[in-house]
Amino acid sequence: MSSGLSEMKHSRQVAAAICMRGMRRIKARPVLIVPTIVMPVVLVISFTGAFSSLTRIEGYGTSNIYNWMAPYGALQGAVFAGIGAVGSSADDLEQGFFDRLLLTPGSRFPLLMGTVGYSAFRALIPTTAVFFFSLALGMTVPGGIIGVLSLYIATSFLAVVFCLIGLVILYKMKTQRSLMLMQVIAFGALFISVGQVPQSFMDGWLKIAARYNPITNVLELSRQGFLGDVAWSTTWPGLVALASMSFVAGGLAWRGLKKLAP
């Protein structure tokens, strides 16, 4: 009984250590995180600049283009950050450090949890960068602190989802290159969603695709505090989407890890 308890404590410590290790790597080589900051900021600049006139159209939802595009940029950055966390695992696999982790006694589950936790923390960096950058350029937060919180929850958990999907692919293909594919998938998944315009603006296939794309719910969760007050009716579909995506991707990643490491 007490051994079960200490086992759990050990698992928790291992997961925390793996997570901390990722953060230390960022501290050791901050360059690693630069693209994760620059990319979403550049996306925000591009989208707000090119499409600023969208706010003039009836029904866009906001008169401030930053309020619309910043959450989209932050989510995109967070997703890349999540995939970047998988990049550390890919390094480990390629350099053999992964073997050292696998030689840990006890369950392998904390190894997975550690990487997932790291991806969530990593996502805070681009989210914060985009948030303050956009704020400086005139973004407002009518939803207040809860609105900001919704943004952070959405970005961190979407990073977790894409980290898990990335791990599924990594455990199967075992190479750093596989992550390139992952980034294309991620960009596409966010693109075919309500990134730039609301669903009411869409027609044809996109309207259907965006409606059934779970990322739409996540985007709406992250954006609500910038369009108005936070509402439970917008919050729960986002949370459900995040939870179910994490659950499915997590199950697949866990299976992949067990297959990779007996």
Partner: protein, 330 residues
């Protein structure tokens, strides 16, 4: 026959800590390890000698629970490597080929992480970490990123990491491949000390004859996934035949020397001013030979004893030579 009896005796009075029966691993059509049997006793230094791609690493990966065997069974520390993998991982320390170390972390950070992975309480982890760093001579470099370490330093850190939880059995997969001679000797020294001072059982793989000869009390030669010879280096070499003893003497004593030497072994060809025999009994007999010669008034000017090498053993077993076939990677 007698060796079978010896083996049986050894099995009875010593605990076998690494045991494999018909261990086999295939990758598609490739048979990497083709049904090997092993038994390593507690406190032994066991060497696994073979060329690149012979199946050494695959065997080690199976014994250390990193790879599932296709067939056969293995026990390490008394635990089944498949069904009791977690128990196995608690009692083994592993330093894998190429020193799998994250270049972005410092020595200290890696030791701390390793301690957490093995569930060692913080305070004892710190003390033990310092002690290990001291022992492998890395105390001064411990706060530097591993990326700045030399190859030898990486291997020594790798060794320290594998020892943090005081394992009873240490697996070293090609611990000195690619190292310069000085670093190599230093690592040998440390492994030897671990074995003698702490009684750690060492299972090492190597492609270097000298390393197997220097370190291992017993070796197995592996080729194409199969163990082709097994025994102590001395026994294996002895099985090749007597070493050649060459003696330089004054040419006028040639006949006298020849008759003395014929009692110690069969004649071997030699150039002028020299006599040579296959010396039965090897090194132990050299003094006796010299004494016998002096008794007859033959002065020994120079003496050479060329023992059969492990390479001769390898050649005899496989038809190929290991020496010179070594390709230091990178």
């Amino acid at each position: 026959m007698p060796s079978r009896v010896q083996a049986l005796i050894r099995k009875i009075d010593m605990k076998s800590v690494v045991e494999a029966n018909g261990l086999r691993r295939t990758f598609g059509d490739l048979v990497a390890v083709d049904g090997i049997d092993l038994s390593v006793s507690e406190g032994e230094v066991f060497g696994f000698l073979g060329p690149n791609g012979a199946g050494k690493s695959t065997a080690v990966r199976m014994l250390t629970t990193l790879l599932r065997p296709t067939d056969g069974q293995a026990f390490v520390g008394g635990y089944n490597v498949v069904s009791q993998a977690s128990e196995v991982r608690k009692v083994i320390g592993v330093a894998l080929q190429d020193a799998a170390i994250d270049p972005l972390m410092t020595g200290h950070e890696l030791l701390k992480l390793q301690a957490v992975l093995h569930g060692i309480p913080r305070q004892s982890a710190r003390d033990r970490g310092e002690e290990l760093l001291e022992r492998v001579g890395l105390s001064a470099a411990a706060d530097r990123r591993v990326g700045t370490y030399s190859g030898g330093m990486r291997r020594r850190l790798d060794l320290a990491l594998s020892l943090i939880h005081e394992p009873k059995i240490l697996f070293l997969d090609e611990p000195t491949t690619g190292l310069d001679p000085t670093s190599r000797t230093a690592l040998w020294e440390e492994v030897r000390r671990l074995n003698t001072e702490f009684g750690t059982t060492v299972f090492l793989t190597t492609q270097y004859l000298e390393e197997a000869d220097e370190l291992a009390g017993r070796i197995a030669i592996i080729d194409y996934g199969k163990i082709v010879r097994e025994g102590s280096p001395a026994d294996l070499k002895a099985s090749i035949g007597a070493p050649t003893l060459r003696i330089d003497i004054d040419p006028q004593n040639l006949d006298k020397a020849q008759s003395v030497l014929s009692e110690f072994g069969i004649d071997r060809p030699a150039r002028d001013g020299r006599v040579a025999i296959g010396l039965d009994g090897g090194v132990a007999k050299v003094a006796e030979v010299v004494n016998a010669l002096e008794k007859q008034g033959v002065e020994v000017l120079h003496l050479e004893l060329d023992a059969p090498s492990l390479d001769d053993v390898f050649a005899e077993a496989t038809g190929r030579r290991l020496e010179g076939a070594e390709t230091p990677d990178e």
